[in-house]
Amino acid sequence: MGKFDIKLVKDKDRTTLQLVGVIDEDVDFNKFNLSGYPSLEIDLSLVKGINSCGIREWIKWIRTAGDAPITYVNCAKLIVDQINMVDGFLPATGKVRSFYVPYYSDKNGTEKSILFQYGTEFSENGLRPPDSVLDADGSPMEMDVIEAKYFKFISKK
């Protein structure tokens, strides 16, 4: 189909999977068994969409990692929504190291995604968002999410 792909990047002490495309019922995760890896990092910045069947396949797939620590990085908004909504989307051994937060300027309608990093913009202790995010005109932008909903996963971990 060509709409979904997984790129495996092995470093000295860590393995990173970069997921690209749409996760739906056509995705075959069996080709990428996660068992045997001591730890995993999954880059989710290029995931373009996910539906309910894709979530089902994702949860089955992510369980194959067993007890290996899993870190989600560069999570797009749609991934954060699933983490918040679907129990098990982020496994018990998993944590989010970075994720994007959409910002929006009511003044000129521009959008921007800011990457929140663990330890900088967020931690178990709570959220420390940037003091201000400005658009190209220097106008302040506001978070384009329901904060109580979007950042819920931080308080869970």
């Binding site: 309910s52 089902r56 918040n84 129990d87 098990g88 329901i146 109580a148 909903k149 819920k152």
Partner: protein, 637 residues
């Protein structure tokens, strides 16, 4: 129970009836069979070619034959004319000394008599003088039979005088007065010294020459003089004028200098003749040869006859060969014709035998493929119709799973909206009163369509039982989970949100199985912002059907008077416009806040929100089921 055969049969009957209707509406114009067209073509072309060839050949042959007949006829008449001239000149050369002797002695002497008696063909020689009054007088005679000349001349006295006058005028005359082999040769001789004119009559017997003209063949030969009198010829016309039975144009041109010629002549009875003439060059004699054109061209008739027989045989052979050839060619087409007719009558199982590798064979093969494909499509159509019918039934059944979209129970006003992406949907919402509590249910099965709809049916069935148990939302969720798991065996899951509202206390207890967290909009006199929305996400557990032993938590909150809860599935935010652009969370929140402002009722909120949603959708096809409902505490809490 498998109903496919019956369904296919019904589909076939339906299509067959349509085809028959079309068949009846089309006038079946039966024309000439293609077999006879091929036969006509294969025979008419050689027939036409041969006919043209025959006409041209006959024309050329006829012209050639006529030319040949003219040539041979002309040769014959010329030859006879030359022979006659030779004989007559020979007679003159023999008798001329006798004439000279007579002119010297004014009588026939013994010398003349001696010469005369040695010529067996000469019967007599008479000499006539001409008086100043133009009268003729016999003055001497040499004859083999004494008195024979006088007897003869007296027998045609009047005609004889005419002969003499004409001979006197023209100088020479040849006559055959008795239509036999006796020829009368009149020769005018003038004495240069005395200026005396003497006309000699030489009576000659020319039996052989006469026989030449009297032979019985298809060709007729005539010896005529200048006035057309036939001197020699077939017995029945000797002595007659040639003009009485045929009128060749050269008779009118007797004085011209043409000595030989040919022409076509038509007889009085219409018979066409090919005639030739040759001037003898002795007196005014002309030899005429004629032959019936029909006889002359009898070879042409034979040619035509034999050609026609040959053509007949050829055409017969062509017809027989064409019959076999056209039969082989048209049999396959006939088979195809019969097969297509049966197809038009609704018989799609018909097949034709492919017996050749040519275009007709390919046509037959393609017909079989087409018939097979039609049968397959027919079965598919029937199957599709069956499935559509079943889906329609399922849709009708599923519609009974949903509650009234508008209700007010106690102080709780409820208004909802549901639209599946296809005939059946995987979304389900429900509300029911159990004692002093109102239970509010919303779920979204994995995917959509019939499989997801079956799970919603299971959820509804389970909820009906659970309602009677008077259990908390968390416990209800656990029971529901087992029910869903047992039905789907983990293949289909369902996100679910279940809440119970206590009419007496206003307490809302809820449990969530990974469903979109409903949003609470508190009553407010000032416009709400997105951060005023309270997601009911304090607890969250696995989706229903994921694991049979999943445990669900519950939490509680208080719903004040005027507060509103918006329950929804993810199909709402995912709805796309015709350009495939999703509505998105920002627009969704704006629409929700706008719909609920000014303390709008549940029904008003749903109506305004639906309008916003449909405004974005713009008539586009849904990609997922869309379900939402609004619950508003209107006073008892």
């Amino acid at each position: 129970m498998d109903q496919r055969p019956d369904t296919i049969k019904i589909g076939r009957e339906f299509l067959s009836a349509r085809l028959k209707r079309g068949h009846n509406q089309t006038v079946n114009k039966s024309g000439i069979s293609i077999r006879y067209k091929i036969l006509f073509l294969l025979t008419s072309i050689p027939l036409l070619t041969l006919a043209i060839y025959l006409v041209l050949a006959v024309k050329i042959f006829e012209d050639d034959k006529i030319a040949y007949v003219f040539d041979s006829s002309s040769s014959m008449s010329g030859s006879i004319a030359a022979q006659m001239k030779t004989q007559l000149n020979s007679v003159l050369s023999i008798t001329r000394p006798i004439f000279q002797d007579f002119l010297l002695e004014q009588k026939f002497t013994s010398v003349g008599d001696l010469i005369f008696k040695n010529e067996f063909n000469v019967e007599s020689i008479s000499a006539y003088t001409v008086s100043s009054l133009g009268d003729f007088k016999e003055v001497a005679v040499l004859e083999k039979e004494v008195g024979g000349t006088s007897k003869l001349t007296n027998a045609f006295k009047v005609l004889f005088d005419d002969y003499l006058k004409k001979a006197n005028k023209d100088g020479r005359l040849v006559a055959v007065p008795f239509q036999d082999d006796r020829v009368f040769l009149f020769e005018k001789v003038s004495d240069e010294k005395t200026q005396r004119v003497t006309i000699f009559l030489v009576q000659i017997k020319m039996s052989e020459l006469a026989e030449t003209f009297n032979t019985v063949t298809s060709r007729k030969i005539y010896l005529i003089n200048s006035d057309g009198t036939v001197l020699f010829g077939p017995e029945q016309v000797s002595g007659k004028k040639m003009q009485s039975f045929m009128k060749p144009s050269f008779l009118a041109r007797s004085m011209d200098k043409i000595v030989q010629g040919v022409e076509g002549v038509r007889m009085a009875d219409g018979t066409e003749l090919l005639a030739s003439f040759s001037r003898v060059g002795f007196g005014d004699l002309t030899v005429v040869s004629s032959v019936r054109k029909k006889s002359a061209l009898s070879a042409v008739q034979i040619l035509i006859r034999k050609s026609l027989i040959f053509f007949g045989i050829l055409i017969s052979v062509t017809v027989i060969v064409s019959l076999f050839a056209s039969n082989g060619l048209t049999q396959a087409l006939t088979d195809l014709f019969i097969a297509t007719k049966k197809v038009s009558e609704g018989n799609f199982d018909i097949r034709v035998k492919v017996s050749s590798r040519d275009e007709v064979g390919s046509l037959a093969n393609n017909f079989n493929i087409m018939a097979l494909e039609v049968s397959r499509l027919l079965e598919q159509t029937a199957e599709k119709a069956r499935m559509e019918s079943e889906l329609q039934t399922a849709k009708t059944v599923q519609e009974t799973l949903f509650p009234e979209t508008l209700a007010k129970i106690g102080g709780l006003a409820i208004s909802g909206y549901y639209e599946p992406a296809s005939e059946c949907g995987g979304d389900w919402w429900h509300y029911c009163q159990v004692g002093s509590k109102m239970f509010l249910w919303i779920g979204d099965a994995t995917g959509h369509g019939a499989p997801a709809a079956l799970i919603t049916s299971a959820a509804k069935s389970a909820s009906t039982i659970i309602e009677t148990l008077n259990v908390s939302p968390a416990k209800a969720m656990e029971l529901l989970n087992r029910s869903i798991y047992d039905v789907s065996k983990g293949r289909i899951m369902m996100t679910f949100f279940l809440a119970s509202f206590d009419f007496g206390t206003g307490e809302l207890i809820y449990s969530n199985a990974s469903h979109e967290a409903p949003l609470v909009l508190r009553k407010s006199d000032i416009p709400l912002t997105k951060n005023d929305l309270i997601p009911l996400n304090e607890v969250n557990n696995p989706r229903l059907g994921q694991s049979r032993d999943s445990v669900y938590q519950e939490t509680q909150m208080t719903l004040g008077s005027g507060d509103l809860i918006f329950f929804y599935t993810d199909g709402v935010t995912d709805i796309q416009d015709p350009k495939k652009k999703s509505w998105g969370e920002r627009a969704f929140i704006k629409a929700l806040i706008a719909a609920s402002k000014d303390n709008a009722s549940a029904a008003e909120t749903v109506a305004i929100f639906t309008a916003s949603l449909q405004g974005h959708r713009g008539g586009a096809t849904l990609i997922d089921d869309v379900t939402f409902f609004v619950v508003k505490n209107e006073g008892l809490g």
